[in-house]
Symmetry: C2
Subunit: 212 residues, 2 copies
């Protein structure tokens, strides 16, 4: 298939596909002539993945490139790959870290029996956690840290479901892609369902007089 068909099948404009090719988000097609290239279903699949990462995950072009690099690398254990992917899809906010928030994170790790986290900025994930708690503190919510434990409790159920979902996939490539998609789509789904749960509680507890 050539670029026009790829565009039709994916709904992505040709000019945008060319841009992605230039940016290295999409591998070049096989040249059959100096100005004719051939794309296959793998390209279509990759293109849809790129759009999904940007749309649902809100990833930047640079972050997508990083994720794809981690997905594509043939070396390293699955565990290492997950780590690399996690780093790429977890960009912390550019906020000055509150030392107290850093302590909150370290105390949380200690409570979970983990070796104490020397440097929260070492990983994007812990950095993200610390920066979120810093922001909370900056607006006077220094007790937000107390939610970490109940959050973890709920997330254990969720993470178990995540793992079972991932386990359905057979090949190494499918597993790593399911991790990426599952994590990002999951983030958004969790956001939405949490809001629904809040609305339900609000309806029950606070109540509201029906208008009609």
């Amino acid at each position: 298939m050539r670029v026009g068909e790829l565009s039709k099948k994916s709904g992505v404009p040709v000019a945008t596909i060319k841009y992605y090719l230039r940016e290295g988000l999409l591998p070049a097609g096989v040249l059959t002539s100096p100005n004719q290239a051939h794309y296959d279903d793998e390209h279509l699949r990759r293109l849809r993945l790129v759009r999904a990462l940007m749309d649902v995950g809100g990833l930047s072009i640079a972050a997508v490139r990083e994720v794809l690099a981690a997905v594509d690398t043939r070396e390293g254990s699955l565990h290492k790959k997950l780590g690399a992917v996690q780093e790429a899809i977890s960009q912390p906010a550019a906020v000055e870290l509150d030392p107290l928030a850093v302590e909150d994170v370290q105390a949380f790790f200690a409570r979970q029996g983990e070796a104490e986290c020397v440097d929260v900025t070492e990983s994007n994930v812990t950095h993200m956690l610390a920066s979120a708690l810093s922001s909370a503190r900056s607006v006077g919510h220094d007790h937000f840290r107390e939610l970490l434990d109940p959050y973890l409790e709920g997330l254990k159920i969720i993470a178990r479901a995540d793992v079972e979902y991932i386990a359905r996939f057979g090949s190494r490539d499918d597993i790593i892609e399911a991790m990426v998609v599952g994590t990002l789509v999951g983030d958004t789904v969790l956001k939405a369902v949490r809001r629904l749960a809040h609305a339900q509680v609000s309806r029950e507890v606070i109540g509201d007089v029906p208008e009609s």
Copy 2:
């Protein structure tokens, strides 16, 4: 206090504060002379809130303005205010909705015994949910919907903690602000802790040979 001191206390450049004033994110100070205005702690508090919304919530200027409008309005029940705030902090991805994903959402509502949701696009929250599932489907993950129920189960624990947290606050204004901050900071914290849980499972289940 004047703008310089406000800048020092908040860490936000004077030019940026002026910009926020122009954009209506910050109420004007009290003019003591034609070109001298006075700001108080309420301004500082608001400024920090604005930055927190943008930094941790990733909200745009427009979204922040919407949230503040909902926070500030004096009319409507608390329940209605929560609804307005939720809409403002839940911008769905600009993705074409897959009808099957819409059905997934409706089936989910039906399972929870809710009245069937006629139009998922009516609320940003349901729209967000449907667009996330649409993206998942676009990359071949049509079974992601099966995670909705376990997610809800975990989120019930989390939402309960959220409600208890909110309940600490006394005044109407503090409650609504705690909802905004708690929801947005909570989103990010959930993201981070979920990734930590994933990493832990990955370590245990998949394992990894220590290098040193």
